[in-house]
Amino acid sequence: MNDQPLWMTYLFGFIVLNGMLVGMAYMTYAERKVLALMQDRIGPNRVGPFGLLQPIADGIKLLGKEDLIPAAADKRIFVIAPLIAFVTAPLSALVIPFGDQVTIFGHTLNLYVTDLNIAVLYVLALGSIGVYGIILGGYASGNRYSLLGALRSAAQVISYEITLGLSLVGVFILASSLSLVEILNAQRTSLDVFGLSIPNWYILSQPLGFIIFLISAVAETNRAPFDLPEAETELISGFHTEYSGFRFSFYFLAEYINMIIVAMLASTLFLGGIDGPLKDGIWWLLLKATIFLFFYIWLRGTLPRFRYDQLMGIAWKVLLPLVLVNIAITGWVKLRSDGEISNTTFLIPLGVVVLGLLYAMFAATRGQAVLAVIAVVAALGVVLARNPVHSAVALVVTFVNLAGIFVLLRAEFLAAVQIIVYTGAILVLVLFVIMLVHQDDLPEFHGGFPLQRGLGVIIGLMLLGEFAAAILTRTAVGQTGPWTESAVDRAGGNVQVLGQFLYSGYVLPIQAIAVVLLVGTIGALVLARPDEPTTRRRARTTGTISLAHPRGADAELALPAGGTTAAARTAPPGEFRGGLIMVRDNESYTETPAFEMDYFNPASAAVEPISDAVRGEVLHGRGIGSEEE
């Protein structure tokens, strides 16, 4: 991509990554100061002048704290999860352009670490990998509040990734590129509007996209008012309840670094990044990013947290339709102004982001052997792991490494699609495992299938033999295609070539695939439909108490429930007309009142043991917790 020596790229990457860490430390300081001012307090003021050394003192404090691992935790995942969150966070900074070229010691240095042609997808992909840190951490803690936080986080991130990605499609269409450097350069031209020269910043041509990006980005980074995964008042900090010491600080670091990244990304994508009056430069980028960060803090200081159904409602009922309208209008205007329909390059990113999210692999390394070995080892892990959650994690590792191999094979676009489709799919798988499988009744491992095992070995050996024969005897027939590495580069990159290829010769198959997907989706909706659609309506008329709600969890009346762990939850007097009693053992609960009780006269409330019939229904029946909701 350029001729600067590799060591300078590494050096600059090193500076950027460490800059992120310092920026993050002072972001916490700024947040506490600004919040304090908004709340008429002083904020940190003890350590150093104006409290400026407070972040360093906090860091030392966190390092010195005891690192607890709960007894109920899934220890390996518990240790790995914060690292996933922390490692993926600052990597996005590598594709953000911090300026033009500068000359140092006779070398020309590009002020960006790398100019990926799928840079924006790369950032979004890292985000979707990073959420695994939260979900796995919540799962591995062995704590219900943490698990609830993790499940919320998964649903929230999947929903908002869609709107986040789609909100950028307008920008992709206008810039005809996914590369941040090219998107930036496209904005550094000026427009003549009625004789006035104004900058071509995409906030002017994509105001709707910008607003949706801003909202989605807040949700993606789990910040207030979308901080449901860690809602302190309901979930006791959610996914990181059980984390302490430096493992906790990894989550903390990741959150703030993500904020900084999103702020810089928003500045670069919509506000012209380093472009500005007088002289272009990194200071403009930092200024714009600072404004965004202030906006973040302002939101936190001002808005109350959303309710969970409101959160999902906003994403699916408001933002998604709006963002689709935005794409349609932008595409139409672009086609009109180009005067041609054959510009297919933008259809590809559109398809990509519609499919979900993504992530890309560190390219330019020649580590194919390592990638292949890790992929195979992880694939073995999928089959051999006893716990299905471990299988799912191993599957993610396999797919990510295969994506890396795709990059080596010059299939960058497929690598991105691979991550988009499969990280999303596996995320759902992990959720399914958590929902459907109880730890203590995992199916017997490998048991009872000796026939299949023998058969598998035989077929496996036969297949291996066939592969070996094919490899040893095969000869290339026909002539090789025209798409050598240089030819692809000349045509504008893998995405462009694949786009031309698909939309010239394969339009009909694409439509067919779209129909298949549509039918599949409808089929899944039918299959997943609850058996009794009346349940929900009944729940609404009787009222429910969320498991996540402290009032619900606070067992005011501990029931002497016939020797089981059942506990009763009651609603406070006056809130409901009927007698609402939620009965729950360790695994399920029901909305069916177990017994009636007079709220207005608690003294007379006779607490009766739950009948066996009711308990049977709770244990084996259709509890609302497990499927309908």
Partner: protein
Amino acid sequence: MNELSANHFLLLSAALFIIGMMGVLTRRNVIVIFMSVELMINAVNVAFIGFAWEQNSMIGQTFALFIIAVAAAESVLGLGIIMALSRRVDTVDVAAVRELRE
């Protein structure tokens, strides 16, 4: 086989495919079986893209893209079926689901 060639990727593909197949045949947890199927699909993609790379052709990549799209549809339906199944028989053990056989 010192020079990096499609053979290497064929080997990788074979390894992944066979691992996935063993998973499908030996595991009893339907979710893990589902993951193993995904593994086999991906093994095929590796072979396609490896050949496309060796032949300087885009056709292999195009095909792999279609495979991924179909695999997405398949996983949507597969998860739907798993969901319906687990709701019906309250287990994810494939050995427990034998209504059609008996």
